[in-house]
């Protein structure tokens, strides 16, 4: 029914990261446990914990994938598999076409020094180094001369709004400021792939909001492939291009926010979307249909609405507009879809009403 969505075109470029049937089982004999689980998904595997359960997914260049799940769902383990902080038990992970598991130690270190950055939930800052030295750490690891890395670290701190705090030690800064250091550090090596493991979970709600805005700003500026972990569904909806919802190590659904809200694949996913104010989440495009599919005779002319906005932000126009079908325009102003006003109003005002 809905054609255009915000997912990247599947064929344009190969995925940056590609997971094929990835398993991660903790315990003394993971291989045997996986065999039993493959035979019977409900098999007992005493002494083992299956944290990542037969996960396959692709992450495209420039895409932001949010992995959402409650604690214990395996999301943090998954991101650690993608960065090979954890070795996987079965399956394979390709990063830019190279099999991650087969990289030598030196190759892996080189990959991390040039391609990857990661932000951690509890910041993971070195307590004995000041802000500047913390940010310079990955540059120091790859052996950049002192002057160059200090200059770069200053630049990064300015980017996250911490200029003037270069000499401060982590313990002298607030949680939000510490995470800004963590972000600056992860960006210092100009990584192509950016992992963020619940970066804002440890922060107060107000600061979290502020940091999300900050993050969106950086995201817009930097154009990186981003894998973002969160347990906060609202956060996921707010930030994601695509969301992967995990439960018990499995990916329940992976799709755009609009489609997850509109068409939850499982009951579990539906439970998350049930209480969501969908008008805040859904973009006009999410409800759009191809112009030629609209019933003949409908009025299609007139001003188009920006399809990339949420229904909530278009509320006034939707209420005031009298047309049954409203054209939707993309960023360039070209009309690419039509919105059925009644359906949009239903969502805006609540289904029950």
């Amino acid at each position: 029914m809905t054609l255009p969505n915000t997912a990247p075109p599947a064929t344009a470029t190969p995925p940056v990261i590609s997971c094929r049937n990835v398993w991660k089982v903790f315990g003394p004999r993971p291989g045997a446990a996986i065999e039993r689980l493959k035979a019977d998904p409900l098999a007992r595997i005493d002494g083992h914990v299956s944290a990542v359960h037969d996960v396959s997914l692709d992450i495209m260049a420039g895409e932001m994938l949010v992995v959402m799940g409650l604690s214990g769902s395996g999301k943090s383990t998954l991101v650690r598999c993608l960065s090979r902080l954890n070795e996987i038990s079965a399956g394979e992970i390709l990063v830019e076409g190279r099999n991650l598991a087969q990289l030598s130690e030196a190759e892996l270190i080189d990959l991390r020094r040039r391609k990857m950055g990661m932000v951690f939930q509890s910041f993971g800052l070195l307590p004995n180094r000041n802000a500047l030295e913390n940010v310079a750490f990955p540059l120091e690891m790859r052996g950049e001369p002192r002057a160059a890395r200090i200059a770069r670290a200053r630049e990064m701190l300015a980017l996250v709004g911490l200029q003037g705090r270069e000499n401060y030690f982590p313990r002298e800064l607030s949680g939000g400021q510490q995470q800004r250091i963590g972000i600056a550090r992860s960006l210092a090596v100009e990584p192509d792939i950016w992992f963020l493991d619940e970066p804002f979970s440890a922060l107060d709600p107000l600061i979290r909001r502020e940091m999300q805005d900050e993050f969106l700003r950086l995201k817009g500026m930097l154009k990186k492939t981003i894998i973002f972990i969160t347990h906060d569904f609202d956060e996921a909806l707010r930030l994601a291009d695509r969301i992967a919802i995990m439960k018990d190590g499995r990916v329940e659904q992976i799709d755009t926010p609009d489609r997850i809200v509109l068409a939850p694949a499982t009951e579990y996913v539906a439970r998350f979307t049930a209480d969501i104010d969908r008008a805040r989440v859904l973009h006009a495009f999410g409800l759009g249909v191809a112009p030629d599919a609209v019933t003949a005779g409908a009025v299609t002319e007139g001003a188009a609405l920006p399809g990339g906005q949420t229904l909530r932000s278009l509320a006034r126009s939707l209420v005031n507009d009298r047309r049954d079908w409203i054209p939707l325009a993309d960023d360039t102003g070209r009309v690419t879809a039509m919105l059925e006003r009644a359906r949009a109003l239903d969502i805006l005002l609540g289904d029950a009403a």
Binding site: G124, L126, P138, M141
Partner: protein
């Protein structure tokens, strides 16, 4: 004693029936003692294994056949070379580099500057004042002899401990081997270490340094491994994602992040070194310890108090300095400062040292205070002590008579009356009641090993002295701890006192008791009681203050009286922490009883000292292990009890 009523066994105690059965059996053995064969009363000769001979055979093989002696001697030679360097610098021993001695004023200024840098002006006054006192009291030479050994032993221990700690953290196998070794090492009495050192290294400062190193390494290993294990995963992951190689990860991420624990380890190393200052003088370590030992043996109370004060002051200063260093958090400087603005203490130190060197050339008294010009407070102390002793003499004489006649002797006779088989069963029963058959096997095994070592009677004397002392210490320690825990400020003050008392080298505790009670068993008991009460007070206070406030509020809202609150809520909740105190108290008592051998006791300690005199490695090791097993058995019982309670 009433406190022990609170140690209720958990309801789920594994098979209390069997424990009761064992106890019953033990009781039967006691009641039918007259009819028992001799072999059940004392460990029979055929049961006693010649452990000492075996150990000696091994040692002789190591020393003579394997030529380990050459190796240890070479090592000792290196240590001695280092000792000569520090000895030359600190007190001018005529060895390379022939630069010393440093004027005392320079050392005092340096210590004061260290204090100022690490902990502000109070610490500066304490550190500088201590070293001025040492110089003015004419103890400079002795103190520097002591410090010259510590200056070699402590860094050596720290580096060794760091490396072993890293190895233990990194390689499971090393940890698995090291852990039991460290457990036993930390419960072996000091004398037991000294005998092999005398055999392999000889006597003198180098032997003192090496025994100090051996004794002070374990806490460093433990703290390093602990600190490394405690580094948050995310910090390590951040390091790995930063592209650190394993070595970079260790050096730039793990070790700096474990800094606090490692520095606490450093602090413990230095405190252990100071604890050995006096004891190592038994094998020829020069300095304050040797002097104190001589003076105490000559019953020169005033002079030994002077030395005692110095040792305590040095211990407190070094403790505070290293603790300040460990707790020191990095702080940023305002930008745009010159280096001398950022390091005012360094600058002041450099200027003061130059000045002191110059002045010492003009006024020799600033370089060295000759003994004839030194002050002494010995005479007034002796005078006052004579008066005090005369005053309390009736009391101490009575106490001595009472304790010996009505407590110590009956207790000793009672414990010697008990058949060893009954004691063995009772201990196993305690193990069974607390931790099931495993514990019964472990503690029973420890005690059985003592029985077959051939030192049963001596060990039982140690047991009764320690048992009685800990009970007495509990009578003092628990009420004091409960009293101190009544208010936050009071608790803080009490904890500070306890911490300070615990920095005193154990030997110091012997000075006042020898002053008051003379040289006899009562003095030993009194010293042990004082020493053992400190951890009891400390952990009782800590435990009671640690009870969650909501719990207390809940009890108060339920209408509990203060008494009910204490007995029904606070004490049961604080019990696990208090038991840690009991555990430590037993360990401290064991060590103290052994050290007190030099006062003249009849227990394992006396035999240990005899073994030391005769350089009998085998006997010393067996005796040392017997002491260690007593400690480990108690430790095992208390730990399993806490574990079961937590589960």
């Amino acid at each position: 004693m009433s406190m022990t009523d609170q140690i209720r066994l958990p309801k789920s105690a594994p098979r209390p029936q069997i424990a009761m059965l064992l106890i019953g059996l033990a009781a039967v053995l006691v009641l039918t003692r007259a009819a028992l064969p001799e072999g059940l009363i004392r460990p029979p000769d055929w049961l006693i294994l010649p452990f000492a001979d075996w150990v000696n055979t091994v040692f002789t093989f190591l020393r003579d056949d394997l030529g380990l002696m050459a190796l240890t001697r070479a090592f000792a030679g290196m240590v001695e070379w280092l000792l000569d360097v520090t000895a030359n610098i600190l007190y001018g021993k005529s060895r390379w580099p022939r630069l010393g001695p440093l004027p005392w004023s320079v050392v005092a200024i340096t210590m004061a500057a260290l204090g100022a840098w690490l902990g502000g002006w109070r610490l500066a006054v304490l550190a500088g004042g201590t070293f001025t006192w040492i110089a003015v009291m004419g103890q400079w030479q002795w103190a520097m002899e002591t410090l010259s050994v510590i200056a070699v032993a402590a860094p050596f221990s720290i580096v060794t401990g760091l490396l072993l700690g890293i190895a233990a953290w990194r390689f499971r196998l090393v940890a698995r081997v090291l852990d039991p070794v460290l457990n036993i090492a930390q419960s072996l009495p000091h004398f037991a270490y000294m005998i092999p050192v005398v055999v392999f290294i000889g006597v003198g400062p180098k032997a003192g340094a090496i025994v100090t190193i051996i004794f002070s390494v374990p806490p460093m290993i433990r703290m390093t491994a602990l600190g490394l294990a405690k580094v948050p995963d995310e910090v390590v992951e951040a390091g790995r994602m930063g592209g650190a190689t394993p070595f970079q990860l260790l050096r730039k991420v793990r070790l700096p992040t474990a800094r606090t624990e490692i520095l606490v380890g450093v602090n413990q190393v230095i405190m252990q070194c100071l604890a050995m200052v006096v004891l190592a003088s038994f094998i020829g370590m020069p300095g304050l310890g040797q002097k104190l030992l001589q003076l105490l043996q000559a019953l020169k109370i005033g002079l030994s108090v002077e030395i005692g004060i110095t040792i305590v002051l040095i211990a407190v200063v070094l403790d505070r300095l290293t603790r300040a260093w460990a707790m020191r958090q990095p702080q940023h400087h305002a930008g745009g400062l010159r280096w001398w603005q950022r390091h005012p203490v360094l600058l002041a130190w450099a200027l003061a040292v130059v000045l002191a060197f110059a002045l010492a050339q003009i006024f020799p008294i600033l370089a060295q205070v000759p003994r004839r010009e030194a002050l002494s407070i010995a005479a007034p102390i002796d005078l006052v002590m004579d008066q005090v002793i005369r005053l309390v003499d009736p009391l101490t004489t009575w106490l001595r008579w009472f304790l010996i006649t009505w407590v110590l002797i009956p207790l000793r006779d009672a414990i010697q009356f008990l058949p060893f088989s009954a004691i063995l069963l009772a201990v196993a029963a305690a193990g069974w009641a607390i931790g099931g058959w495993r514990s019964a096997l472990v503690v029973g095994g420890f005690i059985a090993l003592i029985a077959v070592s051939g030192w049963w009677d001596r060990a039982m004397i140690t047991v009764y002295m320690v048992g009685f002392s800990v009970c007495l210490a509990a009578l003092i320690g628990f009420p004091l701890g409960i009293w101190a825990a009544r208010g936050e400020a009071r608790a803080q003050r009490m904890l500070l006192i306890c911490d300070t008392l615990q920095t005193f080298p154990s030997f110091i505790y012997l000075i006042p008791v020898v002053m008051l009670f003379g040289v006899n068993d009562v003095a030993v008991v009194m010293a042990v009681v004082t020493f053992a009460a400190v951890p009891l007070i400390r952990y009782t206070t800590l435990g009671l203050r640690g009870v969650a406030p909501e719990l207390i509020e809940a009890a108060q809202m339920s209408g509990a009286t203060r008494r009910q609150l204490l007995w029904q809520v606070q004490l049961p909740m604080a019990l696990p922490v208090m038991m840690v105190g009991v555990n430590q108290s037993v360990m401290f008592s064991l060590f103290m009883v052994i050290i007190a051998a030099f006062i003249g006791t009849q227990d394992l300690g006396q035999e240990l000292q005899r073994a030391l005199s005769a350089s009998d490695v085998g006997k010393g090791m067996v005796l040392g292990l017997a002491v260690a097993f007593l400690g480990l058995a108690v430790d095992h019982l208390i730990r399993s009890w806490s574990r079961n309670r937590a589960a």
